[in-house]
């Protein structure tokens, strides 16, 4: 049965795995490895984990606008767990999936309640959208539920709304953009126009770059979020008429795709494209084909071509396992799983003292595909190195981001 599962799953690398498959995969992998360790005799004593299952409640979108991101994060988590045979600290790791997008903003909180009160999970991981993470905060804080945010970037979670029970393995909206201001100035961009989706993440990005950009900000073009008509022509026209040296862009998903497709023909060729790396991440690049803004300089805490061993192994393994090119969200999922495993090992599987477990989480440190991974005590947020990447046209990979420089130790101020 185990082999059938493996073969069946590998034959459909692109499909999302249903919750039960996920579970079975964890079990069969652990089981198969246990059997292998015993020399294949089914009757022999298994060397698998003996402690109680460690249950993770994964709240990620499997429907709606962010389903693609949720899929990447889930796959990233799964890849790492498979690497350690879904066990750590002498406990088997089991994941229960819930759809973050199964309704409006009140749903993720309901799912969290279910996971904690009905399924008895030991930890909650995931959350792509910031409003959902913010909605959960009071609940997990009051009920002392260890929580790892694998994407949602709201600055508040590292500042006014930080909690001893909530740590973030992804980024705060501030991180990718704050150092970019200085970078742009140092590279001769004197006149800048900001282009960002008019919602919290865009607003926080704009505020961040303004902290270090000392040149002239000509105007801020804020298309509505989401841009229902998909028409960016009026905004691109506004950009053109402000005559900047460069634009700094923050957009993601559909909006990024529509914007770039239209910018290809309508944006003034003399304007350099820069921005927060999300708008040229893999999910966007695969959809826009040759509308990719070659030459774009963006800042992000990872790049596909980042040259370190961990990243090479990770991207190869991800592609092989899922037939999908890794993206920054997959890395975040991968790191989240690793944080859990490292913390579990550190407490030797004993999580009855939840505060001690959180302290172990706070102290983890390892080499991740994005570089050195560790949390900042003050902001409960990962310390990121922000890489400046240039979008180039690679003969093998197509449009891809190449790292040109890096700004290490970008720590969210925490207030």
């Amino acid at each position: 049965m185990s082999r059938y599962m493996e073969r069946d799953l590998l034959a459909r690398p692109d499909e999302q795995l249903a919750r039960r498959d996920f579970l079975k995969l964890g079990v069969t992998t652990a089981g198969a490895l246990a059997l292998a360790a015993c020399g294949g005799s089914t009757g022999a004593r298994s060397s698998g984990p003996t402690g109680p299952d460690f249950k993770i409640g994964a709240i990620l979108p499997s429907s709606g606008t962010y389903a693609e991101l949720g899929d990447s994060i889930r796959k990233g988590m799964q890849l790492y767990l498979e690497k350690v045979a879904s066990q750590a600290g002498n406990r088997r790791i089991v994941i229960t999936d819930e759809d973050e997008a199964a309704g409006d903003t009140t749903i993720p909180l309901t799912k969290a309640r279910k996971l904690v009160e009905q399924d008895g999970v030991d930890l909650i991981a995931g959350i792509v959208a910031s409003p959902n993470a913010l909605a959960l905060r009071a609940y997990v804080d009051q009920n002392q539920v260890p929580t790892l945010i694998a994407n949602a970037g709201a600055n508040a979670l590292s500042r006014a709304q930080k909690s001893p029970w909530v740590y973030r393995t992804s980024f705060s909206n501030w991180q990718p953009s704050q150092p970019m201001g200085r970078y742009l100035v140092d590279n001769g961009i004197r006149r800048l126009t900001l282009v960002y989706s008019n919602y919290a993440a865009g607003l926080e990005t704009a505020a961040a770059i303004k902290e270090t950009y000392t040149g002239q900000i000509l105007t801020e073009v804020k298309p509505p979020f989401p841009n229902t008509s998909g028409d960016f022509a009026p905004f691109i026209t506004q950009v053109n008429s402000s005559r900047p040296d460069a634009i700094y862009v923050f957009m993601s998903g559909q909006d990024a795709i529509n914007f770039l497709k239209q910018a290809k023909t309508q944006l003034d060729k003399s304007i350099r494209v820069t921005g927060s790396g999300f708008f040229v991440e893999q999910d966007v690049l695969s959809a826009i084909g040759d509308a990719a803004p070659i030459g774009a300089l963006t800042g992000l805490h990872w790049a596909l071509t980042l040259a370190n061993n961990e990243n090479k192994d990770f991207t190869d393994a991800f592609k092989k396992r899922f037939g999908k090119t890794a993206d920054v969200f997959a890395v975040q999922g991968y790191d989240t799983a690793r944080v859990i495993v490292e913390a579990l090992d550190a407490v030797r599987g004993s999580t009855t003292d939840r505060a001690a477990f959180m302290r172990a989480i706070a102290k983890v440190s390892f080499k991740s595909p994005r570089g050195d991974f560790k949390f900042d005590e003050n902001s409960h947020n990962v310390v990121n190195t922000i890489y400046v990447r240039e979008l180039v046209s690679d003969s093998r990979l197509g449009a891809t981001n190449r790292v040109t420089s890096s700004m290490p130790n970008v720590v969210d101020p925490g207030k």
Binding site: P224, S229, P234
Partner: protein, 286 residues
């Protein structure tokens, strides 16, 4: 001056797309009293049908030709299977039925194709841009304007001059009478529904290279098509044309004037028309 022209042209392109979607919706609503919220699903399915054809055969033009046919067949099937049963039940039931159907279609698409955006390149003949005054206008958008204009003219002509147009116009004005005059209403309904679905599917294929192709792509454009139907008047092709033009220009120019009100503007226009002249600009009945 050039800015105004550029905004107008993009507005026309987007308006043209919305027209293709709205014309089916308005005739179906005017003739059959069916408010079909699954009309957006036809649009989405058309785009995905186009992607599939493109994938298999590699020809955009073939996709453009085949997708509407597939959608027309689907539309006819749905009309016979579901909508027949709802005659006379009132708008709410249809809204809820079609709401449910759209959930089903979106999820089916997501299941089969995944949640990610599908690459949908424009054919090489339509790539690139043309220089107009001091800006560059995408060839593809010019193509959209051309297709919408041609189809609009053809539909308007057919509506006014052909027998089938007369039947439809009469049906919108007084359905019972038309039935009494011996016209096979059931067949007319099915064909109309099919044609509307086909046009929506065409709009989907056209939107593919221009906007994004993903499972939830229907929701945004559907609301706009609804606004066009309201503004233009139920059951009027000319109304759909004029309404689409206005809505297209509104979405293009609106954000340029005041960014914050951009989203609310479309609904505002819709509300205003409903209040001042509920039957719309060219509506055939109150």
């Amino acid at each position: 001056m050039a800015l105004g022209l550029q905004l107008t042209l993009s507005g026309l392109a987007f308006g043209g797309l919305v027209f293709l979607l709205a014309v089916g919706l308005t005739v179906i609503l005017g003739l059959m009293d069916v408010l079909n919220l699954a009309h957006g699903s036809f649009y989405m399915l058309g785009a995905y049908a186009g992607v599939t054809v493109l994938h298999i055969v590699g020809s955009f033009w073939l996709a453009l030709a085949l997708a509407p046919i597939v959608l027309a067949l689907l539309g006819a099937a749905l009309e016979v299977a579901f909508f027949r049963r709802l005659t006379g039940r009132g708008p709410l039931m249809q809204v809820l039925l079609t709401f449910g159907l759209s959930l089903v279609f979106v999820d089916l698409v997501r299941w089969r194709f995944g949640p990610q955006n599908q690459p949908f390149p424009a054919p090489p003949q339509l790539s690139g841009s043309i220089g107009i005054l001091d800006f560059r206008f995408p060839v593809y958008e010019a193509f959209v304007i051309a297709v919408a204009a041609l189809l609009g003219a053809a539909l308007l002509l057919g509506w006014r001059r052909l027998r089938v147009g007369a039947i439809l116009r009469a049906g919108v004005a007084d359905r019972e009478m038309v039935g009494l005059l011996g016209v096979d209403l059931a067949r007319v309904f099915t064909l109309t529904f099919a044609a509307g679905a086909g046009l929506a599917g065409l709009a989907g294929v056209i939107a593919g290279p221009y906007l994004a192709t993903y499972p939830g792509m229907d929701e945004n454009v559907l609301i706009l098509a609804l606004a066009v139907v309201v503004v233009g008047g139920l059951g009027s092709v000319a109304g759909a044309l004029v309404g689409a033009l206005l809505i297209g220009l509104a979405t293009s120019v609106g954000p340029f004037l005041r960014q914050e009100i951009a989203t609310a503007l479309v609904f505002g226009v819709m509300a205003l028309v409903l209040l001042v002249r509920p039957r719309g600009l060219f509506g055939l009945r109150a």
